[in-house]
């Protein structure tokens, strides 16, 4: 029996095998749509064990656990609001990078607009004042004295 065809076949099989296994890479989360939703949401959440990183970017173990938990919740059909609620009942508002809109944060959310309004007011009043400012008339005597001084210095 000739081994040649068998060995050829084996080589071919071995050469093709990786190609059979190598494939389009799978997304980390089983479902790419859920994955996108999860990433978007966790970008707005805080990693609780890091100094100041988002839940999306952190490599910490608790962060991975929480990302997995969010995937599970989303697969169970929960919408973003419900997932956020799930996390805030357990960790408080601290976990949200987007501060919730409540009486406590009214100043925070309206502040910038207030600053702008205040600034606009200052702009308006300053301009009103400046518009009517008359130029001080040139004092002829001072002008002559200045010319004199310049002559002296030559």
């Amino acid at each position: 029996m000739s081994w040649k065809p068998v060995s050829w076949f084996l080589c071919l099989a071995l050469a093709l095998a990786p190609a059979a296994w190598a494939a389009e890479a799978q997304s980390i989360g089983a479902d790419p749509v859920i994955e996108q939703r999860m990433i978007k949401l966790s970008e707005e959440l805080r990693c609780l064990v890091c100094q100041n990183e988002s839940l999306a970017g952190s490599h910490a173990e608790l962060a991975e656990d929480l990302r997995e938990e969010i995937r599970v919740q989303m697969k169970a059909g929960k919408d973003d609001k419900e997932v956020i609620n799930y996390l805030t009942t357990r960790y408080g508002d601290f976990v949200l990078y987007r501060p919730p809109f409540k009486p406590l944060t009214l100043l925070l959310w309206f502040g910038p607009a207030l600053f702008l309004a205040l600034g606009a007011g200052i702009w308006y009043f300053t301009l009103n004042k400046r518009r009517n400012l008359k130029e001080t008339p040139i004092d002829e005597k001072q002008l002559a004295a200045a010319a004199h001084l310049l002559e002296d210095n030559k």
Partner: protein
């Protein structure tokens, strides 16, 4: 008058900063204070047939200490917990958090266990339900199952005396 505004604003800020020096920006208060302790049923370390649930403790004031065999700070408070288990009556339940290497049973056998029960939270899900971010963290839960206090970090004799004892007394222990 408005020339004094910048200075006034600055001094107000300084007041906040001065207060801020005494605060820890990373210490997060627990949203469970005053709320029911989340329910769970977990197997117990060291006994294949038993389970533990907070409902088991209704009617008693109890302390839940979240710990892990791999946690270095937990070793620090272990001695105190052993002493407390002897010296006082409030049961201490030790939630074994994310013990992937399955070391809890052996560790407690070697070093002694201060715990009334050791529920095994392998996945960490119960921890998430309680808002745990690391170990050790300790909760005080009252007779009705309401969370009354949470302490983050190892318990020292001073902390027990100043934080825990008054609270336990308040709850009627």
């Amino acid at each position: 008058m408005k020339r004094w505004i910048p200075l006034i604003l600055f001094l107000v800020l300084v007041g906040f900063f001065a207060k801020g020096l005494f605060l820890n920006p990373r210490e997060v208060p627990s949203p469970f204070i005053g709320k029911s302790a989340p329910d769970f049923t977990l197997p117990v370390v060291g006994d294949a047939n038993a389970t533990f649930s907070p409902a088991d403790m209704k009617g008693k004031v109890w302390v839940m200490n979240v710990w892990a065999p791999w946690c270095v700070s937990c070793r620090q408070e272990h001695g105190l917990l052993m002493a407390l288990a002897q010296s006082q009556t409030t049961p201490i339940v030790g939630l074994n958090w994310k013990d992937k290497q399955r070391e809890a049973e052996q560790l407690l056998a070697q070093q002694g266990s201060p715990y009334f029960a050791v529920p095994d939270d392998l996945s960490g899900k119960v921890g998430i339900d309680y808002g745990v971010t690391g170990t050790p963290e300790t909760y005080v839960i009252d007779q009705a199952g309401i969370v009354r206090m949470k302490h983050v970090g190892p318990i020292s004799p001073d902390i027990w005396k100043e934080k825990f004892e008054p609270k336990l007394k308040e709850l009627g222990v």
